[in-house]
Amino acid sequence: MLPTFTYVRPKSVTEALELGATEGAVLHAGGTDLLGCLRDGVFRAGKVVSLSALGELRGVARTSDGGLRIGALTTLSEIAEHATVRGQYLALAQGAAAAASPQLRNQGTIGGNLCQRPRCWYFRGDFHCLRKGGDRCYAVNGDNRYHCILGGTACYIVHPSDTAPALVALGAQVRVASRSGSRLVPIDEFFVPPARSVQRENVLRPGDLLTEILLPPASGRSVYRKVRARGSWDFALAGVAVAATVTEGRVEQARVVLSGVAPIPWRAAEAEALLTGRQLDADTIGRAAEASVAGAQPLAHNGYKIHLVRGLVAETLEALA
């Protein structure tokens, strides 16, 4: 049985923003992560504010500039199956399809997928860790086989989303609404690494609501690949989203974004720089794969992720060549 809470279902975004800003309020989109967190006591909720009546936050539509607008409450299933997403933003369709299980994708939303809490078993378990306001990260000296090899400082979570790396590769923006208005945030700036805060994973403040995701007009090709310990469904051990424009074998621009290995979707900047302007041949691919793990600092039990990322990046680039 879940702990007690009150429940409200606002009829408009304005009303949701009012209610969301009240003491003890948490937002309920698909609810798949929220209910797990409440059940496990990861955090508490005095009031659950359901977004399910906000139809305007659902659906995929063309924007006037030729890009795409995805309402934050659009389910992962809808995105995975959407013809335009599959045709022009393949990495996102693949990321949505690779997340969770069919049942969870039918319920889980893209907004929720970006805002889900980490899966670190100390954070989810009965440990008062740094991210829950405690004084230490138990993964440092504990079982850290699924933890990060890049970007860890004090806390060593990995960001669990499969759609986030695709959206970063595709150069998306997200709209964040609050009672004082709304703002567009480049998705590169949406996620918060532990060096900036160990208590939140994104820039959202209490009372903020992620309302939509905006994709620029499609250019080039993109792909997302994910490796998991269990074939049927699981979080990523490592994954990579690549969005690239390749003309006659030469890379004009490329974004390489890793999942499952860092506390935020991780742009492999050295790999991107190395690829840009070069022929996408075996030599370039080998060097880019090596560069993708530049600066990696594995913990005691997750050194395998370095090899995994190298192989994954090489295979993914080969498929694009």
Binding site: Y7, R39, P102
Partner: protein, 196 residues
């Protein structure tokens, strides 16, 4: 412990006002006096549509659809497995698509069409997926079977003729501890055949 006692007392209270009686289908509007009294107890009315029947129920917001199906409506075909959206034993259809009932708040199912394994029956006759599971011997202990059946039903409504890969993918959110997967996949293929 405290939570359990509170829960039991609320349940007793519910039954004392006569709306929590198992399986009761109340037509029309809830009694006003009772509404005012129970809302102070943190209960709220919810209108659910399950297997084609409408129900007006008093629920706590924290009760899941699974809690309400099993404990209030006595539709015990839907099973509690992990209770955390990992095993699929509680799979039901919400507006025709498979979901984990343990991760859906009952209040969130308001206005949706919920279908449980009981809803696949045509009188005393089993539905096509159930028939196929029997024909193909697609279970051992049977505990995961209602969830498997509902996942298959949802898959076939979306994709009437799935290939082997689509079947594996469509059934990937359901665990079978006995490992009857091979027969389960065969049963889904057979169910597609039976549906024509």
């Amino acid at each position: 412990m405290t939570d359990d006692r509170k829960y039991l007392s609320r349940r007793a209270f519910l039954e004392s006002v006569g709306v929590g009686a198992a399986g009761a289908t109340l037509a029309g509007v809830a009694p006003r006096a009772a509404t005012a009294a129970v809302q102070e107890e943190g209960l709220t009315w919810v209108a659910l549509r399950v297997n084609g029947r409408s129900h007006q129920l008093l629920v706590e917001p924290r009760w899941t659809l699974l809690d309400v199906l099993r404990e209030r409506l006595e539709l015990t075909g839907t099973k509690l497995g992990c209770g955390r959206g990992e095993c699929g034993a509680c799979t039901v259809l919400v507006d025709g698509t498979p979901r984990y009932a343990c991760l859906v708040l009952a209040v969130e199912a308001e206005g949706r069409e919920v279908t449980t394994v009981e809803g696949l029956m045509r009188g005393e006759e089993m539905g096509t997926v159930q028939t196929a599971f029997v024909e193909e011997d697609a279970f051992q202990c049977g505990y995961c079977t209602p969830g498997q059946v509902m996942a298959a039903e949802g898959l076939l409504r979306r994709l009437p003729h799935p290939g082997p890969e689509a079947i594996r993918e469509g059934m990937s959110g359901n665990l079978c501890r006995c490992g009857a997967y091979k027969h389960i996949f065969e049963a889904v293929r057979r169910a597609a055949e039976l549906r024509g």
